[in-house]
Amino acid sequence: MSQQYAIALKGITKTFGSVVANKNISLNVKEGEILALLGENGSGKTTLMNMLSGIYQPDSGEIFVDGKAVSIHSPEDAKRLGIGMVHQHFKLVDVFSAADNIWMGKEKPGLRLKKDRFAKIDEIARKFGFEMDQHKKVYNMSVSEKQTLEIIKVLYYGAKIIILDEPTAVLTVQEIDKLFAVLRRMKEDGHSIIIITHKLNEVMAISDRVAILRKGEYITTVDTRETNEQALTEWMVGRKIDLNIDRPVMEKTRPLLELRDVSIRNDEGAVAIDGVNFYIRGGEILGVAGIAGCGQKELCEAIAGLRPLEKGQMIHKGDNIVGLSPKAIHEKGISMSFIPEDRLGMGLAPSLSITDNMLLKNYAEAKGPFVDRKQGRADAQEVIEQLEVVTPSTETPVRRLSGGNVQKVLLGREIKAGPNVIVTAYPVRGLDINSSYTIYDILNQQKQAGVGILFVGEDLDVMLSLCDKILVLCHGKVMGVVHAHKTTKEELGLMMTGALDLTNKYEDKPAGIAKDTLFAQAETGEEQSQ
């Protein structure tokens, strides 16, 4: 071996039942290097990393740490070898404080806890530039705080090789920058880092080398400096793929959905959405950008009738929809698909079959006391064919499908109902490039069919190329509505943090109020009926 690798894998194979998750994979990481592990969903990245952290054992193949062959039978073994993993789903005890979570897994000699543990945690935090309150309980922490805690935890255990599984999936742009700064500092300190992600721009920004997996097989490792996003995509997907997202220009209709001066409270009773105005026309995609948790969820829920309005008006084609039941709103043609962080919590019943999930919103329409499964099966079949859902059958429980297919089922059902307004939040959350582009295509098809789409997203690059207009939220307030082809990522970033307010950019028209609003009609309509 000419060069000593911090970690090297040779011919690793792992199967689950008849599924080959990893097939003869060999790769290596140098000391003080950041290696990005790239691959689509189901390409075996997480499985491979779980073998390094001792959760799984390889069926065959060898692992070398610092040039010595090792066998890792448990997370304890991994810890002893200096391998630490930050999982996609955090492994923390909610009711414990940060400090308690950190030294919980540390082998401590003697019976008494040593006082110096706090100082030691502080030292690590200072060294790598973390900000953390050691006494804060985990259930009070934001996602990024939890992640920080997980990273400090592995550093506290003395890990030299740190694996991060999709660390950026749940972070905002600013939080990602902060994370990357920390990773660079760790690298300078001689740590080796493996980062799993499928965001190409992040790969380009942070990594030294990129290893690519496809369908469980190792494809290649390249120097980041000598490659580009297009080349990486082709390796990852196995064929040429167009990275441009289309934005067909459509004839727009009068406003379909209009919100005027809407305020909504969140579960804790704090104001989540504060005096918001906006409208969606048929044939356009209105993006909603904002830092995570600045009212997007509450806004979507309010439109779908799941959350009461504090004040304000909501009209759909001139009719008031405030106070209607979720069912009545759905019958008006407003469909909502919200992909929460766990991807299953809302909109789908995971243990039920695809057929049963198709029926979720229209099962009550069948005549008589029985559920019309024949219709459901036909719908399921149609969605499976149209959106290329990979599933053994229509009767497979949704829980057994992979992430991308779950989201296709959800979106497919919503589109099947023939809505005129689609509210969709994070529809590509956690999806690989191929599946994401399928979803964008579906949304564009709907737009071309004259549907108005509210797209709550997190990836600004995607929003800039997919959406017609982008509404920016900051702490529940609208910072302005901008045309996607006229704005920049930087401008959006400033608006998201509240540094730039464009609500009064055009003097003749306040942001978010349509010139040809149907509110006047709604009001006169009301007067007539009175």
Partner: protein, 370 residues
């Protein structure tokens, strides 16, 4: 050599049955070892138990009729509980609901028996039991829906409340207490089996099939259809799987919870009516523990209505058989059945593990394994 635990892709029905039968056989072998250790011939004992002592018995028909008397309440209670369990509502208050139903049944039977035509009284007994038990269950559901209370604790505690109410009624000698025999000096529960009881259909010989058996089968079939094919059954499945999704789909989750728990408790009440209406009296042991055994049956059957019938039938063989066998084998107490039932439950759970996973043993360095 290394041992792997590998997830099974799919397990054929035959394999499943094989594993379950295997689990029961191992339980019987374990029980057999125990029997041997106290000097009882296990083969003879098991033969006696599984035939419920009917072979060479001139009153075998009577044993079978008694068996059905135990079977009907158990199967109905299990079906009823499975309804709530499907919705992830942990109704472990079968005992309490059964007792409430039993009190209501006795009340109607004593007050109206002989006053109104028997058929009418029987129907009223069933209705009264269903309403009483249903409301007793509904109370817990309402508290859960309104205040988010824990249904497991409440249904459990209300079991004891019901039991003590019944004990009070059966031990308090007073002028108002019509549950007791008025002529007796000590508190003796009134019996009304010669006034009003569920009729039996003679089926040749001395064997007569009680109408409750047929009704229980019919209710089972209805619940099977209800859960599998109706909109309400679909709602139960969705709420049980994800209440958030149900709300999002526009279902009125609270109403579904209230409705389902009421129905579940109603059916427990019906089981009580059938039981009280065939034995013709009430006692503090009227439940025969069906509220507890029903939970085990429901889970052993994995909430599958059809399987509940099979499992209930087998569990009843165990119980009736052990009582019969205790007559011939004085050394073995009839609670041997309870022990055997526990061992079977454990081993079935173990079998479940082997249905979901399989164990693969590989030699070190062996690259291919099956």
């Amino acid at each position: 050599m290394r041992i792997h635990i590998v997830k099974r892709e799919n397990c054929s029905l035959l394999q499943k049955c094989g594993l379950y039968v295997g689990a029961v056989l191992i339980a019987l072998v374990l029980g057999g070892v125990l029997l041997l250790s106290i000097g009882v011939d296990p083969i003879a004992y098991y033969t006696e138990m599984f035939t419920m002592g009917t072979i060479g018995n001139r009153i075998a028909y009577k044993t079978f009729m008694n068996y059905l008397k135990d079977f009907v309440p158990l199967v109905l209670t299990s079906v009823a509980l499975s309804l709530a369990f499907k919705m992830r509502f942990w109704n472990i208050g079968g005992e309490g609901q059964f007792i409430m139903g039993a009190i209501a049944t006795a009340w109607v039977a004593i007050k109206l028996g002989g006053v109104l035509p028997t058929a009418v009284v029987l129907i009223l007994m069933c209705l009264a039991a269903m309403v009483a038990a249903g409301l007793y269950g509904l109370l817990v559901a309402a508290l859960k829906v309104k205040f988010g209370t824990n249904e497991t604790l409440l249904t459990l505690m209300l079991n004891y409340v019901a039991l003590y109410v019944l004990t009070y009624l059966l031990e308090t000698k007073a002028a108002w207490n019509f549950f007791l025999e008025p002529t007796a000096l000590r508190p003796v529960p009134q019996s009304f089996d010669n006034v009003v009881s569920f009729p039996s259909i003679p089926l040749g010989g001395k064997f007569a099939l009680n109408i409750c058996v047929i009704l229980a089968l019919a209710v089972g079939a209805l619940i099977y259809v209800y859960l599998k094919y109706t909109k309400q059954g679909y709602e139960i499945a969705v709420v049980g799987d994800s209440a958030g999704t149900a709300r999002y789909a526009g279902m009125k989750v609270n109403r579904i919870v209230l409705r389902t728990v009421f129905l579940s408790a109603c059916l427990v009440g019906l089981a009580a009516a059938f039981k009280v209406g065939t034995v013709g009296t009430i006692s503090t042991t009227i439940t025969n523990d069906v509220g507890w055994t029903g939970i085990i049956v429901a889970w052993l059957s994995q909430l599958n209505t059809g399987v509940i019938f099979v499992v209930s039938a087998l569990i009843c063989v165990l119980h009736t058989g052990s009582v019969e066998a205790a007559a011939s084998f004085s050394r073995v107490d009839s609670s041997f059945a309870n022990m055997l039932q526990g061992v079977i439950l454990f081993l079935i759970l173990a079998a479940d593990f082997f249905i979901r996973f399989r164990v693969v043993i590989t030699k070190k360095g062996d690259r291919n394994h099956g």
